[in-house]
Amino acid sequence: MAKKNNDGYLSAAETRRISRQNRKTTNELEKKRKRKNVPESEYLTTMKDPGNAVEFEDLHTYFFTDVGTVHSVDGISFDVPLGKTVGVVGESGCGKSVTSLSLMQLLQRPQGQIVSGSIRLNLGNGKAYDITKTPEKVMQKLRGNFISMIFQEPMTALNPVFRIGEQINEVIALHDDEGKSDESIKERTIELLEMVGIANSEGVYKMYPHELSGGMRQRVMIAMALACSPKIIIADEPTTALDVTIQAQILDLLRNLKDKINSSIMFITHDLGVIAEMADYVVVMYAGRVVEKGTALEIFAHPSHPYTIGLMASKPVVGKKAEKLYSIPGKVPNPVNMPDYCYFKDRCEMCVSRCSGEYPGMIKLSDTHYVSCYRYYDEKEGK
């Protein structure tokens, strides 16, 4: 780990040493990535539970920067069951988006690298790929057809110089099966636009993104993501930039569409209200790790990790009058220099003596509810 003076500034020699080391590590990983003709057997795996669409297991995604290695995702494991919605909550910078980008293999390379762990993607018929080992060529076939993503900012995610129709056509033409006529592609695009609730679909087909409102643009983004009926939709804060009334429309739409094409949704947000409404399962992340996971009912009825409890208490709720809002003291630890004890200890008000020990493992509270906190060790195992 990089040595630092009190102000957090690095000497030039130190920076050079770090970047040399980074280059070495990333070059090695890149070389592994860029091999040609990787045999399928290398990335073919089987799902632990065929009822899951995606399984993350001990995933580590690091960013090798000039000030040190940032452990953005530091050993997370959770499953996305088929046909269900999994909500991922956490503050900004806790690794929510990096998790989804790892699944899409859209990390900023060479700095961002999946260092270890596996992501198993269910392709159906008992077949599964390990995304972390899948070569780029194969990945291009998976994106869109099996996994697709709805981005946060509908204002910036659409290309301003192409018409809406062209942008959706492109998706359909590139993915799905070969040999489609222009007319059938256009037909499919119009059908998609209608499916996401755009009334004037023929008109919108010919419009540019700037002619649409935020809610309409988000609908177009959703249409684009659904173009090839993917098995998994990653929704990365799809409603954060929208008004409440428009947000309600979009959430309704997503819920209906999910049932229609029977896919799983990985819903990333920091709004607990939205999570409660959308998700079947909830994963709470803090500083690159999963601190608690369980069904939505369990998490909202019995939040167990101090962070989850704090997060719920700090959000004002309509209809509940509170004199003062709870606020979690302190701030997220420096991502370059993580402590070796529980990451939340310095902000936690429920510490026990054991908290200064190594990072707590996952403790099972029920079949679906897991928490990573020492407070539950005694009750469960007396470990």
Binding site: E91, S92, S213, G214, G215, M216, D243, V244, T245, I246, Q247, A248, Q249, L251, D252, H270, D271, L272, G273, V274, I275, A276, E277, A279, A296, L297, F300, G310, L311, M312, S314, K315, P316, V317, V318, G319, K321, A322, K324, L325, Y326, S327, I328, K331
Partner: protein, 338 residues
């Protein structure tokens, strides 16, 4: 082509219990078009807003984006050029009748906290200068007390004095928002417009800033106009709430009245759209169709009639006026005509 802007309103006189009286305030932005850049129309950003703000209270202003919340805030502070029509009385003085010199003297009393703490701080000034610039300009404290005063203000807002020599980029979002608050507070204001001060922040940081704003309000007996689209935050912080739609205040009253008994169909729809963090909660949602019409060409009659579920023939023809349905609870809707 250009339409005549009506300038008819009954002037109100000063009532000392109110720090701010806003009367039929209008702010139109001209749309220039054609070869000679003639004015071809107006964007009616604020189209007749009337409310009073009691000393030491907080008023929340909610509405969808583009409904004129921010423009209302800025027009009240005379930051958006000249008003189009109406009255803004701050402690009995019409803000728009003052000369530039008088206005300058009044500025420290009315401050604003902007939405985005990432773009509202100059990247080239260090924090001490950002907070202190206006203090020196307005001679708030004698020169020999200046340094201590800045330290005190920063301490009040939860910043340490060694932060003074740092630049904004060295701070996190929550701390930057504290700098913005310190900057506004340093001038000893009576009234602060908070323009979405927490919408760019994380939930846990939001709570810190909201608590800070509440503490400062008690300590310095401040009056806030709190603009936000997050209804749960507004309910928490406000004493009165105004709901805006397309440049009009459609409903206005005490927070409890508005949240327990929303009268205007728009308010009802807005409140039913709030996601509740409880997966067992039953949803009875009124989903509004479509999006907000263009303020350059608002619908005739009641502006909300295009999206209203309870729209009648009359709504399409005649614009409703503001009426007091319960004491202190005003609504602009034909449904409540006696």
């Amino acid at each position: 082509m250009s339409e005549v802007i009506k300038d008819d309103f009954t002037p109100v006189s000063y009532d000392p219990q109110y720090v701010l009286q806003v009367n039929s305030l209008k702010k139109y932005f001209p749309i220039k078009g054609g070869f000679f850049g003639k004015t071809v129309g107006h964007v009616k950003a604020v189209d007749g807003v009337t409310f009073n703000l009691k000393r030491g209270t907080t008023m929340g202003l909610v509405g969808e984006s583009g409904c004129g919340k921010t423009t209302t805030g800025r027009t009240i502070l005379r930051l958006a050029g000249e008003k189009t029509s109406g009255q803004v009385l701050f402690n009995g003085k019409d803000v728009y009748d003052l000369s530039a010199k008088e206005m300058r003297a009044l500025r420290p009393k009315m401050q604003i906290i902007f939405q985005d703490p990432f773009s509202s701080l100059s990247p080239r000034l260090h924090v001490g200068e950002i907070i202190g610039e206006a203090v020196r300009e307005h001679n708030i404290v004698p020169a020999n007390e200046y340094n201590d005063y800045i330290d005190e203000v920063m301490d009040n807002c939860g910043l340490q004095s060694f932060h003074k020599n740092r630049y904004p980029h060295e701070f996190s979002g929550g701390q930057r928002q504290r700098i913005c608050i310190a900057r506004a507070l340093a001038l000893n204001p009576e009234f602060i417009v908070c323009d979405e001060p927490v919408s760019a922040l994380d939930v846990s940081i939001q709570a810190q800033i909201i608590n800070l704003l509440n503490e400062l309000k008690e300590k310095h007996s401040l009056t806030y106009l709190f603009i936000s689209h997050d209804l749960s935050v507004v309910e928490h912080i406000s004493d009165t709430v105004g709901v805006m739609y397309l440049g009009n205040l459609v409903e206005y009253g005490a927070t409890e009245d508005i949240f327990n008994n929303p009268l205007h169909p728009y308010t009802e729809a807005l409140f039913s759209a709030i996601p509740v963090p409880d997966p067992t909660a039953k949803m009875n949602r009124i989903v509004l169709e479509g999006s907000i019409p263009s303020p350059a060409n608002p619908p005739k009659g009641c502006k909300f009639h295009t999206r209203c579920a309870r729209c009648t023939e009359r709504c399409k023809q005649e614009a409703p006026v503001q009426r007091e349905v319960e004491p202190g609870h005003y609504v602009v809707c034909h449904l409540y005509d006696k």
